[in-house]
């Protein structure tokens, strides 16, 4: 077990280093931030040089990367070129809204996907199942940003029930969570259906049924509990898609999260903020995946024998 954990930890570290390299070098291709900082004005050559030196952009790329990594290990993500605030503070400020949105989306997804997936599997081939499957397929076929716009059109513009943007009340959370959650519920329902189908084939289900246990007790207590394991793993793995989705949904609803921070920073060529934001999101995702993997291997020892 210890060996397995070490292996996974090492692997995670490797992934984080690879990601940091990709982001660091890609960002450097974006364009010269110094010219952008001066905007429309004609800066003097001295002023440009001074800023370049101050930002450390005059050093060689490997040197810049080394400094960047050294700071990263100490949780120092640099200072925003724009606002001069530490990047980590900016991200932490925006972390709560993104977390809220992600959780809201997850709750919506679970509430929809569990019943749909279970009923679909139990009534396999019946019209309920076909409906459920079409619902899931429509769910995964919806562009999430468009779903957001449609929900705004219906519930904000026409019915005037819910706000289209803002972050000050619970009602402002509803539409963004629905947008994110509905999309995810499509994928999740498909997975629950197929893992339920796998479990329902098992002999212990037949045994339980033959003992005269009520159908729904068998379904919930025996089948669903076993089908839950792959589902939970999957939800962990889906965390990245959730974050990626959040970035877009935040744009639609002017949600003050990390996604908007990153996209705004891209337009302003604010290197450290983009870099820091993407790395933080990536690390969170990689760590969640690691935790899911490890917890899964504790619950189900068969996993450990596989290739780590």
């Amino acid at each position: 077990m210890a060996k397995y954990i070490m292996k996974r930890l090492l692997h995670t570290l490797l992934v984080i280093i690879a990601i940091s390299m990709i982001i660091f070098f890609a960002i450097r291709l974006t364009g010269d931030p110094v010219t952008v900082m001066f905007g429309a004005g004609e800066p003097t050559k001295e002023a440009v040089e001074q800023i370049t030196e101050k930002l450390g952009l005059d050093k060689s790329l490997p040197e810049q990367y080394f400094i960047f990594m050294k700071d990263l290990v100490q949780f120092d993500l640099g200072v925003s070129y724009r606002s001069n605030q530490p990047v980590l503070d900016l991200i932490l400020e925006r972390a709560w809204p993104t977390f809220l949105l992600a959780m809201g989306g997850m709750v919506v997804a679970v509430l929809i996907a569990f019943p749909v997936g279970i009923i679909s599997a139990v009534k396999k081939g019946k019209s309920v199942d076909i409906f459920g499957r079409i619902f899931s397929l429509i769910g995964i076929s919806f562009p999430n940003f468009w779903l957001g716009i449609m929900l705004i059109l219906i519930f904000s513009v026409s019915l005037k029930w819910l706000p289209a943007s803002g972050f000050d009340s619970f009602s402002a959370l509803i539409l963004p969570s629905l947008t994110l959650g509905l999309i995810l519920s499509g994928i999740l329902a498909r997975l629950i259906r197929s893992s339920m189908l796998d479990v329902l084939k098992m002999q212990y289900i037949t045994t339980a049924k033959s003992k005269g246990i009520k159908d729904w007790v068998v379904i919930i207590k025996h089948a669903f509990r076993n089908a839950l394991l792959p589902t939970v793993t999957f939800m962990g793995l889906q965390f990245g898609a959730l974050l990626g989705g959040a970035v877009i949904v935040e744009q639609v609803f002017a949600w003050p999260g990390i996604g908007r921070l990153i996209v705004d920073a891209i337009n302003q060529r604010d290197y450290p903020v983009v870099q820091g934001g993407v790395i933080v999101l990536a690390i969170v995702m990689v760590v969640v995946n690691l935790l899911v993997d490890l917890s899964y291997s504790i619950i189900n020892p068969r996993i450990r024998t596989g290739r780590g």
């Binding site: 490797l14 992934v15 990709i22 974006t30 940003f145 716009i149 059109l153 999101l281 990536a282 995702m285």
Partner: protein, 298 residues
């Protein structure tokens, strides 16, 4: 004589073509719907120049945000689905938008398929350090959310169709590579492959004749699903201003434009989205149906 009677019997057993098609539709409603939606999208893209009623890029401020024709009592609007913020015909732009969606998604899938198959075959068939190396890269790519990766790269390179295609191709090969590697690992030890090796078949011949045909159906299913996914990803990136050049009519770009007019001109936001959804749904239905038919394990 004998043959004639046989033919008569055959006719009795075999129902007419119309009946057979009808039965096929009843038995495969989702598959048929998928085929129809995909065909419409492909047809629209191929014949955009012929079908589009207006010039998709000609601005006409006199018809700025015109309501759809069938909702207009004044008779001013000449656009079936209304006009956009500079008076272009929404329908024509949607028709041309199909080209972008399909070009990006299909080319992206082709690149990832070729690359993934190649690397998957090398990893699965030759094993050893090739395998370790390729699968490590695959793991890293899987760990990094595509949207974040694409945002970083596209903002660095700037908008452009060919750039999205390359990014999609270079990230999604992992799916094909893993699929093919897995299949090869299980096929490699099968007797007929061993036999082919024993009678002196070359690696290339064994791969081409015995291994690839066996994984073809899984590859087709995955490719269909990826086309659907790529259409969504391209639209999302373009919506963020990081995908296709805004001057080219694309569905994601149209939705980005519509954002400021949602409250006053709902049609600018509704119809391009319907186009995306229908096309993506078509490919997903098709992929789902193909998987049920071709891959009994799923």
């Amino acid at each position: 004589m004998v043959q004639v009677t046989e033919n008569k019997d055959m006719k009795k057993i075999k129902p007419s073509l119309g009946k057979r098609i009808g039965k096929f539709i009843v038995k495969n409603p989702t598959g048929v719907l998928g085929i129809i939606l995909v065909s419409i999208a492909i047809f629209t893209a191929l014949f955009a120049g012929v079908i589009a009623p207006f010039d998709a890029s000609k601005a006409d401020l006199a018809h700025r945000l015109d309501v759809p024709m069938w909702l207009d009592d004044t008779g001013k609007s000449q656009y079936l689905l209304g006009g956009d913020q500079v008076g272009r015909d929404l329908l024509s732009r949607i028709i041309y938008g199909a080209q972008i969606s399909l070009i990006v998604s299909i080319s992206g899938v082709l690149i990832s398929l070729v690359l993934g198959t190649f690397l998957g075959v090398i990893a699965g068939y030759f094993g050893k350090w090739f395998d370790d190396f390729i699968m490590r890269i695959a793991d890293i790519q899987l760990a990094f959310p595509f949207m974040l990766f694409a945002i970083v790269i596209m903002s660095a390179l700037g908008t452009g169709i060919e750039k999205i295609i390359i990014i999609l191709g270079l990230t999604y090969w992992v799916g094909f590579a893993r699929l093919i590697r897995g299949e090869i690992l299980s096929l490699k030890e099968q007797e007929y492959i061993q036999a082919a090796k024993a009678i002196g078949g070359t690696h290339i011949k064994i791969i081409m004749k015995h291994i690839l045909p066996n994984v073809a159906s899984s590859i087709i299913v995955l490719a269909t699903m990826y086309i659907a996914e790529f259409i969504l990803l391209e639209a999302s990136l373009t919506f963020l201003g990081l995908g296709v050049d805004p001057t080219i009519p694309s569905w994601g770009g149209m939705l980005a434009d519509s954002r400021n007019y949602v409250t006053t001109a709902w049609w600018t936001a509704v119809f391009p989205g319907v186009a995306i959804m229908m096309t993506v749904l078509g490919f997903n239905l098709l992929g789902d149906w193909l998987r049920d038919r071709l891959d009994p394990n799923m």
